[in-house]
């Protein structure tokens, strides 16, 4: 015990030197900026830092790396809450209620609630890391393939909570997500699935692009068509203070979600991008009055935000103690540690216990710093939602395309974003659960792998392992609980007019059915091990979709299977075709000018033609936009998508 206490103290002392505090602060500053920019997360931050770590001393490097990775999940809330664009893979669930709050003039409250929750979550994660020194190793070594499979089952049951008003549509969405997740190379047989003959799809489709397409594009389209500003209401007074109070009122929720975040971050098998959804599902499931969820309930922000910061402390546990990275960011942190001469694993605990406590202190301090900075900016930044949207739109659209481009840094990212954006727009319009699709997508590979590994290593004997068996019982319990509560679950405000125009809705289902069949036909040509998962998932999804069509034909007015948000459209809003040029303006212009120049030209056009601003304003704004993306390109050493212009220049 003395050893531990000494290490706690010496870790703290080492950190409290001005130079290391400066490193920590530098890391925090980078992390905040990276988190704030959609598409960039901890992984990008780490890869920016790695070259500088070469030859740095361990304490400083560790402080900078941990500082950076601790706060990306704090600042990524800004875009999620304010403009409905996921700031990183970890803050998708925050959009569901956070963005609704912003629309209702409560942006500042949503932000401060989420930052406070992030802070508490982060501290909880640091606490978990500090006590893990004693207990982590034996626990982590108990989580074998069978246990991982059961954890994935439990995570999948979250879909039950997030199906929206129609369970049938929600489950079908999840099935579709599982199928989309199978795109790419099936490692077991080294065969390509649904890659359509492209190199691009070999690595599967990117979660970031899919989330942007499903959430950001439909929301932006909606604002462009129907609203002047993102937020219609007058800002509420004292939003910031109210947000902090909200968190304190829900302290038990914060603790439960922080625990979920740390635990999933530490355990193998699930991965970080599902944590916010699990926390969100838990939040909805564990509260009595569910009516406000999806319409701006502050608890829908608090839950996921406390979990995604708690994750970082958790993910450090296997990284430091076993040398097994707990996330993508941690894999790079591991690489960073190795370049500075520290090898994580058993020897770290025996030889460098002080470094572990240095990490604990760094997380805690970084979270406090990050939260303070974000809170300070939350009120002024949230004002952006009261500015006329046509002034913000060019930069928001450019950021979305920039974010999508980070997936593989190729032209194809733009195409994929447009395709998933169209999917998102129609799913939103016809009341299909986008979270359910996303959960299916994220868990698809883990589920397939876990089933195959478990059967290969254990056969069905894995259920004889006590831990796997108890997890199995837990997952059954979850399903039972969800089914029992389903009758009380939230119902969207159903519009009776939706029943009058069934044509487009049925057409969408038929198109989905065709897609599922294409997936299955493609899988048929593969070897058994590569085909079994898509075919089985496809069959179940097909049954759900056919049931849905039958139900839609016979459904009466007010049934949850019939939803069409356009049915009740008021005359004032613009049609899709009139805003489509804005949505795809950037990639179209990029074809000719390349992305770098397409952004300022697009900005100029939009500001002049739609917002009707004076020339001088438009030109200055465009120059700033150009400088911003050009600078980003330099920092990240990017080559932006090139157009005819660049190819032409190259030939001169």
């Amino acid at each position: 015990m003395d050893v531990v206490l000494n290490a706690v103290g010496s870790g703290f002392q080492q950190l409290m030197t001005p130079i290391y505090l400066a490193y920590l602060f530098g890391g925090v500053a980078l992390g905040l900026v990276i988190g704030w920019l959609p598409g960039l997360g901890g992984i990008s931050g780490m890869s920016i830092m790695l070259p500088f770590l070469f030859g740095m001393d361990p304490v400083g490097a560790l402080a900078a790396m941990v500082g950076m990775s601790s706060v990306t999940n704090t600042s990524d809330t800004f875009p999620s809450v304010l403009i409905g664009v996921p700031g990183s893979a970890g803050s998708q669930a925050t959009i569901v209620d956070g963005y609704q709050m912003t629309k209702q003039g409560e942006g500042a409250r949503a932000l401060s609630a989420s930052f406070t929750a992030s802070l508490l979550g982060g501290l909880f994660g640091a606490f978990c890391l500090s006590i893990a020194v004693i207990v982590a190793r034996p626990i982590l070594l108990e989580i074998g393939f069978g246990e991982q499979l059961m954890l994935i089952f439990i995570a999948l049951t979250c879909v039950g909570v997030l199906t929206g008003s129609s369970a049938l549509k929600g489950l079908a969405s999840c099935g579709l997500g599982l199928l989309l997740g199978t795109i790419g190379v099936a490692e077991v047989t080294a065969q390509n699935r649904m890659t359509l003959g492209t190199d691009y799809l070999i690595d599967g489709i990117s979660l970031v692009v899919l989330a942007l397409g499903l959430f950001a594009i439909p929301e932006i389209a909606d604002v462009l068509r129907k609203r002047e500003h993102i937020s219609d209401e007058v800002p509420s007074e004292n939003g910031t203070l109210q947000g902090i109070k909200d968190v304190l009122k829900n302290k038990w929720l914060v603790i439960r979600c922080s625990f979920i975040g740390s635990a999933i971050g530490a355990l193998p098998g699930l991965g970080g991008s599902i944590i916010d959804w699990i926390a969100y599902a838990h939040t909805v499931q564990s509260t009595k009055d569910k009516e406000r969820f999806g319409k701006g309930d502050v608890r829908g922000v608090i839950g996921p935000e406390s979990a995604n910061n708690a994750k970082e402390g958790g993910a450090l546990i296997p990284t430091l103690f076993l040398g097994i990275p707990g996330s993508g960011t941690m894999a790079l942190l591991l690489a960073g540690l190795v370049t500075i001469g520290i090898t994580p694993g058993r020897s770290l605990v025996t030889n460098h216990l002080d470094l572990i406590y240095l990490c604990v202190w760094s997380i805690a301090l970084a979270n406090v710093l990050g939260t303070l900075i974000c809170l300070t900016f939350s009120k002024p930044i949230s004002k952006v939602t009261y500015i006329r949207f046509s002034l913000v739109a060019p930069i928001v659209l450019a950021i979305i395309y920039f974010a999508a481009f980070q997936a593989t840094r190729g032209w194809e990212d733009f195409v994929l974003l447009i395709v998933t954006g169209i999917l998102g727009i129609y799913m939103r319009r016809f009341g299909w659960s986008r979270p359910a699709l996303l959960i299916g997508f994220v868990l698809s590979n883990s589920l397939e792998d876990a089933v195959y590994r478990t059967v290969q290593v254990y056969g069905f004997d894995f259920l004889l392992r006590p831990l796997a068996l108890s997890l199995f019982v837990v997952s059954i319990g979850f399903v039972w609980y969800i089914v029992r509560n389903k009758s009380k679950a939230l119902k969207d405000d159903l519009d009776p007019r939706a029943a009058l125009r069934r044509g487009p809705q049925v057409a969408f289902v038929l198109l989905t059915i065709t897609t599922v069949i294409v997936f299955m036909v493609d899988a048929m040509r593969l070897k058994f091990l590569a085909a079994v998962f898509p075919v089985a998932t496809g069959l179940i999804t097909l049954v759900l979709l056919i049931l849905l069509v039958l139900k839609m034909r016979s459904a009466s007015v007010g049934s949850p299977v019939l939803v069409d948000m356009e049915a009740s459209n008021d005359e004032e809003s613009q049609s899709f075709s009139s805003i489509a040029p804005f949505l795809i303006g950037i990639p179209l212009l990029s074809l000719i000018l390349g992305f770098e120049f397409a952004v300022p030209v697009f900005t100029l056009m939009l500001l002049r033609m739609k917002a009707r601003m004076p020339w001088r304003f438009c030109i200055i704004y465009s120059i700033i936009a150009f400088a911003f993306f050009w600078g980003l390109g330099q920092v990240l050493s990017l080559v932006y998508p090139e157009g005819l212009l660049q190819y032409g220049l190259e030939m001169l």
């Binding site: 074998g144 080294a190 097994i324 190729g410």
Partner: protein, 365 residues
């Protein structure tokens, strides 16, 4: 989609045509470099990026005119995407360098349809070898001991579980080695390296391989605490073309030694050729830097000389130890020969591998 592809193809053609015309007068000129781009076809933070970072700094100092080198990661499809892009975009003027690794060779070797680069025609100027070690859990096959030959005999009877990516990429050499030793482990594919470490510690996977980079810190402790034993290393090919023990672990026998003692005869014929190719890919050209097809000899020579000086420079650099280990760096012709040995495979060898992949692992290529 179609639209983009078509455009790209015509533009590629035009660029190539222009590049060729530009290259002709260059041979006569002195080599001038200002801004060099280094394409790393893997994600940031991986082995290739760290290797690239190290040589980027050193080459900036040793190349004539001290050009700035910008490292750019173009990950995707196991290095195929980045190297395709390198091949399509690079002009033979020395201003673009590609980093290739084992994955680049395997995709080329199995003639995967996505590969659009002529690997054998690139101009290598540096190759960094790295050793490989195979080890197993002690508590399997009735308990493994200190005698490597006895261990192999036990594993032939009770082969355990091996995990990896898939049979026709970076795991191929290890799987071929097991096959030649008549060990048929149960295989678990699609398992990433980080997952494998956990699975091995939990005992769900019982045979594993590792790059020598993690030997001292991650593998040796497991030998020390008695949870695992070494089976063999791949060894190293010296300047005389002989298989020798790995400089990082000279106490552990190499594959060819173990093979000879277990089977009673030396490795020979097509199997020896296959093993040489596997060694060339996995160990001798673990990472290599290349110039594009058609680069004039004077530019290649300039780079080779700069690489030789860079290696000298790095010998004094403590950071290089973690990245390059104790392995002799190959530059100039030695690097080109090593890449050639790894990439050039006769139809007979390829047929052997194809047959092996199909019959043993049910994978076609």
């Amino acid at each position: 989609m179609k639209h983009f592809d078509k455009k790209r193809v015509t533009i590629k053609g035009l660029v190539a045509a222009v590049a060729v015309t530009l290259a002709m007068p260059l041979t006569a000129q002195e080599v001038k470099l200002r801004r060099v781009e280094l394409i790393v076809p893997y994600a940031p933070g991986g082995g290739s990026s760290i290797h690239g970072e190290l040589f980027k700094e050193a080459l900036e100092k040793t190349l004539p005119g001290n050009p700035t080198i910008i490292m750019r990661n173009v990950p995707g499809a196991g290095s195929v995407k980045g190297i395709n892009e390198f091949h399509a975009k690079a002009k033979p003027d020395g201003n673009m360098v590609g980093s290739i690794a084992s994955g680049t060779f395997f995709s080329f070797l199995v003639q995967s349809p996505e590969v659009k680069y002529p690997l054998t025609q690139f101009k290598p100027f540096l190759a960094s070898p790295f050793g490989v070690i195979i080890y197993g859990r002690k508590n399997q096959a009735g308990g493994l001991g200190t005698d490597p030959i006895e261990n192999i005999r036990k594993l032939q009877k009770a082969p355990g579980v091996y995990g990896g990516q898939n049979a026709i990429s970076s795991d191929m050499p290890a799987l071929v080695a097991f096959h030649l030793l008549k060990i048929a482990p149960k295989t678990l594919f699609g398992v990433s390296n980080k997952e494998l470490q956990g699975a091995f510690q939990r005992g769900e996977v019982t045979i594993n391989y590792d790059n020598m980079a993690s030997y001292e810190e991650n593998v040796k402790p497991m030998f020390a605490d008695g949870s695992a034993v070494p089976l063999f290393t791949f060894g190293f090919i010296n300047a005389q073309g002989k298989f020798v023990r790995d400089p990082a672990a000279p106490e552990i026998p190499i594959f060819t030694e173990v093979y000879e003692k277990v089977t009673g005869k030396a490795l020979s014929g097509v199997e020896l050729d296959i093993w040489k190719a596997m060694m060339a890919i996995r160990v001798m050209t673990s990472k290599a830097l290349v110039l594009p097809v058609g680069t004039p000899q004077n530019i290649v020579d300039t780079y080779s000389e700069a690489a030789r000086k860079a290696v000298e420079l790095l010998k004094k650099d403590p950071r290089a130890q973690n990245v390059l280990g104790d392995y002799e760096q190959l530059t100039g012709k030695a690097a080109a020969d090593a890449v050639k040995a790894a990439a050039d495979m006769t139809p007979a060898q390829r047929e052997w591998l194809r047959n092996w992949a199909r019959t043993v692992h049910n994978v076609d290529f």
